[in-house]
């Protein structure tokens, strides 16, 4: 028995030091102002300042749009993939870009979206004129959606793959049209995958700060950017922690709404 106890020590230490302590510390820190005095003013400021509230609403709105765009692109992708002969191989190809460093993928868009970049060259070629693409909300959302697509495709693919084909056959035998079969059989059965995908995309989208900085320009438009700004630029850790606590609460709300399907989603 003693040997067993020795085994647990490093893991238990990790739980105490790196799981519990940081969460407690961020909550604790959120009650201190920039001069190190105990206060609840951070929360009061947050709840009364139009700047913070607007930023939060904007962040949720962006995350919603990113999730929606990703879902609209990913569901048909998963649906088409599932009907291919070598579906595992094609799925692997969808997943492969997630193994490439995130910074490099984002960096590619700096070149693609630049004033004289390939996208603008193409737009000029089809006579749509060149536009300012970089540092706009649209480009930020596009890049975020681009990054998130595989994380949405995978859980939906898994959910679709689990559907018993005899259910679909039964629906067709009973005279349902393709659309009816999809609406009443396939869609409801794939819903757990969709929920897992939404969870996998929405929370990271709220906390993005790297893509916001590089593609969205130097603006504080997500909760993640606000946290980064307070911690690393203005050094107001108390306010940063307060926003962090808000982000954690938002995370729990999203997980509650979408149900605890995360384990099934393949994102582990």
């Amino acid at each position: 028995m003693r040997q067993k106890a020795v085994f647990i020590v490093p893991y238990a230490l990790w739980i105490v030091l790196f799981v519990i302590a940081p969460l407690v510390l961020i909550l604790y820190q959120s009650f201190f102002n920039i001069d190190g005095q105990f206060t609840v003013n951070n929360y009061l400021t947050y709840l009364t300042s139009s700047v913070y509230l607007k930023m939060t609403v904007a962040s949720v709105w962006y995350a919603f749009l990113i999730t929606a765009v990703t879902l609209v692109i990913s569901y048909p992708t998963a649906y088409v993939l599932i009907h291919l002969r070598n579906k595992q191989f094609w799925l692997l190809l969808v997943i492969l870009p997630t193994w490439i460093n995130l910074l490099l993928k984002t960096y590619a868009f700096i070149g693609l979206f630049s004033r004289n970049g390939s996208i603008n060259q193409f737009l000029q070629f089809v006579e749509l004129g060149s536009h300012q693409l970089l540092f706009t909300d649209a480009s930020f959302m596009f890049v975020a959606a681009y990054i998130e697509i595989p994380f949405m495709v995978l859980p939906i693919f898994n959910a679709l793959a689990e559907i018993n084909p005899s259910l679909i056959n039964a629906s067709k035998d009973l005279g349902a049209t393709q659309w009816q079969t999809f609406r009443s059989v396939i869609w409801p059965l794939s819903l757990p995958g969709v929920k897992a995908g939404i969870q996998a995309v929405f929370i990271p989208s709220l906390s993005l700060f790297m893509i916001t900085r590089l593609i969205g320009g130097n603006r504080v438009i997500t909760l993640g950017t606000a946290i980064e700004e307070h911690f690393l630029t203005t050094q107001n850790w108390g306010m940063g922690s307060t926003i962090g606590v808000i982000l954690i609460i938002a995370m729990f709300i999203v997980m509650f709404i979408t149900g605890d399907t995360r384990q099934k989603g393949g994102r582990q």
Partner: protein
């Protein structure tokens, strides 16, 4: 009708794949351009690769990144495997709470992990740099190792362990001769995932790195903020090749681990 819809689906899929791969191919192509921007191709050249290999700062950072990744994944694998053994031996409520605590860092956004670790290190008085980055990487890699090892432990038949004890094996012998060999593939997969997590992490490292110490992701970020530099393209081509090799080796590891249905594992860190 059937053929018609099939064709549309092929076009759609082709469109999605073009979106997914165009940026990556675009980076690779321009790494061979003799020019200085990603706007027009100026003829084939290895110039940017030579610049990259002559860039001692970048080479130091690559070595730092690899050192952190190797050490962090090794230590995370050891602690994570012990953790999986502990979780396996726990029961009921304990087991559930251990699993929940284990998954906290898996579901937390990277900014939260980074910010809270920064507070933690400051409170403890740990100087920001190699040590803080290494500790953070160990910390966020442990849960993934646990999640990779635990299924293998669950597959291990308890009668096998009982048989070892019946035959007079000590606890230590049972562990090293029966349990560890059986869960070996899971440990390998865990080590591998921890390695790639560490290699690619940006957000957490960015918070705890301080001045003076940098990893590849952080360096790419600071250079990308200054605009296009084709040396980064050359770097991305090399990293793309490394990623491909990693995926291929992971494919073989997971085949070996008998986790064929988990063949496609996404890198969670990327979504942050």
């Amino acid at each position: 009708m059937k053929k018609h819809s099939l064709k549309w689906s092929t076009i759609y899929l082709a469109f999605v794949f073009i979106i997914l791969y165009a940026p990556i191919i675009y980076l690779v192509i321009y790494s061979f351009s003799a020019g200085k921007t990603m706007e027009s191709f100026h003829g084939f050249s290895f110039q940017h690769y030579m610049d990259l290999f002559a860039d001692t700062r970048m080479i130091t950072i690559v070595i730092n990144t690899l050192l952190v990744a190797l050490l962090a994944s090794l230590l995370a694998t050891i602690i994570g495997t012990l953790g999986a053994l502990a979780i396996k031996d726990s029961h009921g409520k304990w087991r559930n709470s251990l699993m929940s605590l284990n998954n906290v860092l898996m579901v937390s956004p990277d900014v939260i992990i980074g910010a809270s670790f920064l507070i933690f290190f400051t409170v403890l008085g740990v100087r920001l740099g190699f040590i803080s980055v290494l500790l953070s990487h160990i910390a966020f890699s442990i849960p993934i190792v646990v999640l990779m090892v635990l299924p293998k432990l669950n597959e291990l038949s308890p009668t096998l362990v009982d048989a070892a004890y019946d035959l007079g094996a000590s606890r230590w012998q049972t562990l090293t001769r029966v349990i560890l060999p059986a869960i070996g593939p899971g440990i390998m997969a865990g080590y591998f995932m921890a390695f790639t997590y560490s290699l690619d992490d940006f957000a957490v490292t960015f918070f705890v790195t301080g001045n003076g110490f940098s990893t590849l992701s952080v360096e790419i970020y600071s250079r990308a903020r200054q605009g296009v530099n084709l040396e980064i393209n050359a770097l991305s081509t090399l990293m793309f090749i490394v990623s491909l090799l990693l995926v291929i080796s992971y494919y073989f590891i997971s085949q070996h681990a008998g986790r064929r249905h988990h063949l496609v594992t996404v890198k969670e860190g990327d979504a942050q």
